[in-house]
Subunit: 262 residues, 4 copies
């Protein structure tokens, strides 16, 4: 069901007033929601630029001793931000229970890279009826990603966007290798929209702008950007967040490149 | 908590009457339970050789259209096999609900490679109180595997064995690269027992015997072997299963190598 | 010697009348020179677009039974093209003897990806005094690439450009993964110019334009493009060559993106 | 020409009085020849255990500033060791000139992993008429290794042994992943003998014994072991060398495992 049915076939869907797969969609926000004040200030700044607000409240961390998110409390903060700034919100859920308890309160459900092979979670997300952003596992082939998408599509949930976020290679100078070859190819194979997360791939904010613009040229339908106004104090993944000032500048460049490519 | 606390520190635990981490443990069985008759016949044959009976009843499959296991019905078949042949049984669970419903009925819970990064599942398995076999994800570093173990250990469930089952590389001539360097190193770093699954790594039964014996020399505490008496008709992963005849021969060779290494 | 000595430090050099590292350089041509007529026709078409003409005459092929290039005869054809169209020519050499015999006749020496770790060849190329394009091996870390560059720089040959051409991963849907994260990072670390070869990375002409434009945004100093006017009949690497018509269109887009990025 | 022509087909050849491909061959020695005294002492100790003496005199090093070997002087030392202890000697050559100057003086030519794709070097080695040990590149597929072998075989030099020495993966806890799946498979595909170098794969002497014995079970025709009697002072690759005492113990274990496997 993921295959294009005719040349040029591309699907899209709406998350509140925002389209994904039509035009260009920017998803921005902090890796983890940390406080109400910080998130509302950031939402105010993102307001004119980002289509969707992301904010982690349940964090999957390699070590059990790392910060694991604010949970329910973080969700309330996100809802306030949505209310104040009319930004649809995206939250990653880590298990089926979280989906059954909280999916209703968000606008789009994120399935993280670590969970791309977690088929029961994919099914639960699909059955929630919510739109879904599905991240490619850092070692998934494109076929595995597309079959994971199929787990969602076969349950009659067509509101699905794929997200490339870097793959694991032997290189240690950067965190993951952003795979734009995959983006080009996915857009040839599937009608599903594809967005790119350059922040997690790079793991370093100094690389984000160039990789973001490169992604636009590769044909992505949108970008997912980690923004934090005090990156040094971020409780998780600090070095990769850009500031809201950098975000605004990048936003302008993206629009110019996009307009040129039309 | 996974680190050795003193040179030579190694932990072990019991699954019914079988030790893991002390002596050498063989886990054998079909990739998926397919029928009562077939499983009971196989259990009879394994009876004198295998310490534990494995049998998949919930299968994680890349495509949603592949055979996904017998579920509850398969569990009843496994229980019968245990009853008749006094073989402790191991079953892989794919989500928390399966664990809460069925973990009580099995002797050891398997967390599959695809779920090594599924931390809520690791926690649910840990809290079930059952012994756990944790497979290394096909792209996990040793540190990620050890931190996944930590998610279980920190919940006071010490009955844990790690399983190396091959890693993904660029090579396409075999399914995965069996990483015996990892086995050697894991035994240096952690007190936890380590077993090896050469069947899934190779993806081809003709390679299993040699890789199994090599694993013994690398220091594994046990082997997990896929056995199927009619491999050509197996509903999943057919080409990698050895027959019960091959299993018996391999069993003898393992014992001889083990006795030599003592 | 490859490190930037001050922020913004970037080196450049000249190949006849063409700069590398200053402005934007396009290197184009067939994977292998096949006939005088075909090459001259192509050179005529490239004349207004490409800065340098590439053409393989000694081909390193995985199998000894594949077409291995025209050798000396191909060199004569390239020299004719240079004469007629004032295009500097680049040729890959595979051993020291070829360098001592033929380097004089070319304008820039290419060291192919397979030879990045061939240090005696790097030294011979350096000592020829000719400018050098050094391709990253398909499994080289950035540190290994930079140290390979060091083998050339320490012999007082500063006219060196690095070339990213895709790395080997587990993915099989495309030939190699174009590593634009590497390009972004190389431009931060070294003063040396960096170009990108999207043709060899993709292995499929339908992916070349998007990857080429993405490379421009990632900060490359130039592109190396495989162009062939009858790709179906090409004797090596046919599916990845774009036609001269596609090349002309791409050239226009590159210039517009470049002017926008300034 | 590398394919088995009938089931069980396996080729062998002689290096002086030592067979490769028949029985089991041990190649031992220091990574680099450092002094006459040290090498002669080591040769005396290896005398009863190793079939062949290896000793690097031209070293390919990632950085041009590392120790690059004693060159011609080292060769004289090796010749003395051969004379005194009747040990055939193996030397790695890095370019065609070294082969034309020195191949005559050694008993078997080593092509290093970095040069597996260096086809002119393979041809020069083949044409020297000397037996050849060809190491698998750390990122070569088995097909690429076998085609590299073909470059030698098609020049009518049948005295060829392949060497697995670990492949590059994402894991950073050890240097390379020893690929015993490759060894098992190579022995199924090709009639050529295959040896394993666990020392370079592990990069740590504490892993060598277990990996060596595992290799024996995987079906290798021999082992290549780095031995150095003062590993802490070794000028290159110090941490992976075992002492001559450890070597003697390992030798006994290898023989016992081999006798058991017959």
């Amino acid at each position: 069901m993921f295959e294009k049915r005719y040349p040029g076939h591309s699907s899209f869907f709406q998350v509140r007033n925002v389209h994904i797969g039509k035009g260009f969609t920017i998803i921005a926000g902090p890796c983890a929601v940390e406080s109400e004040q910080a998130l509302l200030e950031l939402a105010a700044l993102l307001n004119n630029g980002a289509g969707l607000l992301r904010g982690g409240i349940f964090k999957a961390r390699t070590s059990p001793y790392s910060f694991r998110g604010l949970g329910e409390k973080g969700l309330a903060i996100l809802e306030k931000a949505r209310e104040n700034y009319d930004l649809p919100v995206m939250v990653e859920f880590l298990d089926q229970e979280q989906i059954s308890l909280y999916a209703e309160k968000v606008d789009i459900v994120q399935i993280g890279a670590r969970n791309m092979f977690n088929y029961p979670l994919l099914r639960a997300a699909a059955l929630s009826g919510k739109p879904i952003l599905l991240k490619r596992h850092f070692s998934a082939t494109l076929d595995e990603l597309l079959y994971a998408a199929e787990y969602i599509l076969e349950l009659d949930n067509p509101n699905l966007v794929l997200c490339e976020r870097g793959i694991r290679t032997y290189e240690t100078r950067y965190r993951n290798c952003l795979d734009l070859s995959a983006v080009v190819l996915l857009k040839q194979i599937t009608h599903l929209p594809v967005v790119v997360d350059p922040s997690h791939a790079a793991g370093d904010s100094s690389m984000v702008e160039k990789l973001a613009l490169a992604s636009v040229c590769a044909g992505t339908d949108g970008l997912m950007l980690e923004v934090h106004d005090n990156p040094i104090k971020a409780l998780s993944d600090a070095p990769q967040a850009i500031t809201s000032g950098q975000f605004s500048q990048l936003k302008v460049k993206i629009e110019r490149i996009k307009s040129f490519l039309l």
